[in-house]
Symmetry: C2
Subunit: 275 residues, 2 copies
């Protein structure tokens, strides 16, 4: 039966209804509000599929630990179906595969492992350092982004994104050429971050190639996110970097840090480099 | 029908026979010689599954560009079956999924995209730098590795691995604690590197946690390899690094550089941290 409408935009964006007759199938709707560059944001799609798998994983392992998605065809706003298959139920992990499709066309293939992030070993021996950012009020909101970008980015209205002025020269035609974009991230309606919303966060900033003076869109081929801890509520620090633009492709590494200084997510994607 | 035995160990290790009656199925044998820490090396398994998908992708897209593997259960030497499914045949990429199983038990789930690496755009705008290594003859062969390691590592006999003395203090009970292991890699029988063998190279060094003073094995949960260029023949420089050991897991980032100074592969895995 249809479920009640969630209060927050992100929860509406990944809302699913279990299919009454087909075990493992969940149906939902990809909303207009998550469009970017003519398609639906890849992070939202990853969260949508992972949401279906999380339900199948069940309460013992409710959180994605690692989620790998391969983008098979471009998603469009409208109905979408996720068919899930649980591959293994272990003591510490539940692993599954999911196919997100629209009108019978496969959009995204996901394999993911789920755990209980609240029950992990408490050791934290992180040597990575969080990005150094000016305070959110010293950063640049997307209202300053180029009009042609905003026109194609309904997604940005769902986000409170404050980019570091040092990495947003591209918006003024002066890219730093460092291959780095960083800033503060929060959902616009203050929906608290959780393991699923981090999958969106990992793919929510503009393509890091903007900072290399390549303003075009960069279609994602593959995106893997490791969710390393449950995020604290509040602002998230997000950095995107690339070190290998070559052969028409580039990798984009993303880190997400919470207000407690915990590295809560790491991701890497391979994308097509804009000309 | 069975195919002739390849000349090189790696090609024997990933040898497959197409199943006569089941389209997309390929059968092979996981050899004793690829064992490590009681299981079969995860990189060899990834190459084994990717080999089957490469055959299905066909001559237009013969090389893996991105390969994501999720390790479902521990593989053992013996017969293994790969069942493949092609998800999309595009102009620049062919994408497929594969299940590697033994005796009906799923071992590894792979999703991968294939292309023609020889036909990529020639631009190389890499800002990453190759690891600085002493010459191979100044590095440390695995013959110096701890006996208890070698006893569980038939894999190492297939490899000519020369580790940087600066990152092998762990072998003498003095780990650098930098979370970094690097060295030179070549297949012991001089089999030239190619796109498939790079999948092995990305998971062939000892776990980077050895350098943190944790000598135990580190089971891989998920491993994604991006093959960014066809490697030149000769020595490969390989670096493994981790920056986030936390909650009982760690990420291991690997880079593989060829003798022409090209970054030919980048990989990241999530693994369980040894106690």
């Amino acid at each position: 039966m249809p479920e009640s409408t969630p209060a927050f935009e992100f929860d509406q964006g990944i809302a699913l209804t279990p299919h009454p007759d087909e075990p493992g199938r969940h149906d939902g709707e990809l909303g207009d509000g998550w469009q970017i560059g003519g398609g639906v944001n890849g992070g939202l799609l990853l969260a949508f599929a992972a949401h279906a798998l999380a339900r199948e994983a069940g309460p013992a392992h409710p959180h994605p630990l690692t989620v790998s998605g391969t983008y098979v065809s471009a998603s469009r706003p409208g109905p979408a179906t996720v068919r899930t298959e649980i591959l293994r139920r272990g003591r510490s992990l539940t692993t599954g595969s999911a196919i997100l499709s629209q009108g019978g066309q496969e959009r995204l293939r996901v394999t993911a492992s789920f755990t209980d992030l609240a029950a992990l070993d408490e050791e934290v021996a992180t040597t990575a350092l969080p990005p150094e950012l000016p305070a959110p009020e010293q950063c640049v909101g997307v209202e300053h982004a180029p009009r042609e970008l905003l026109a194609q980015a309904a997604l940005l209205e769902r986000l409170d994104l404050r980019l570091d002025p040092a990495t947003i020269g591209w918006a003024l035609g002066q890219p730093s050429k460092q291959g780095r974009i960083q800033g503060w991230f929060r959902l616009a309606d203050k929906r608290p971050a959780d393991a699923l919303s981090l999958l969106l966060t990992a793919d929510a900033l503009p393509p890091v190639t903007f900072d290399l003076g390549r303003p075009g869109w960069a279609p994602t081929i593959e995106l893997t996110v490791h969710v390393r801890a449950l995020p604290a509520d509040g602002w998230l620090r997000v950095s995107h970097a690339t070190r290998n633009v070559a052969g028409g492709y580039f990798e984009e590494d993303c880190e997400v840090w919470d207000e407690n200084g915990r590295l809560v997510a790491q991701s890497r994607q391979l994308a097509m480099a804009p000309r």
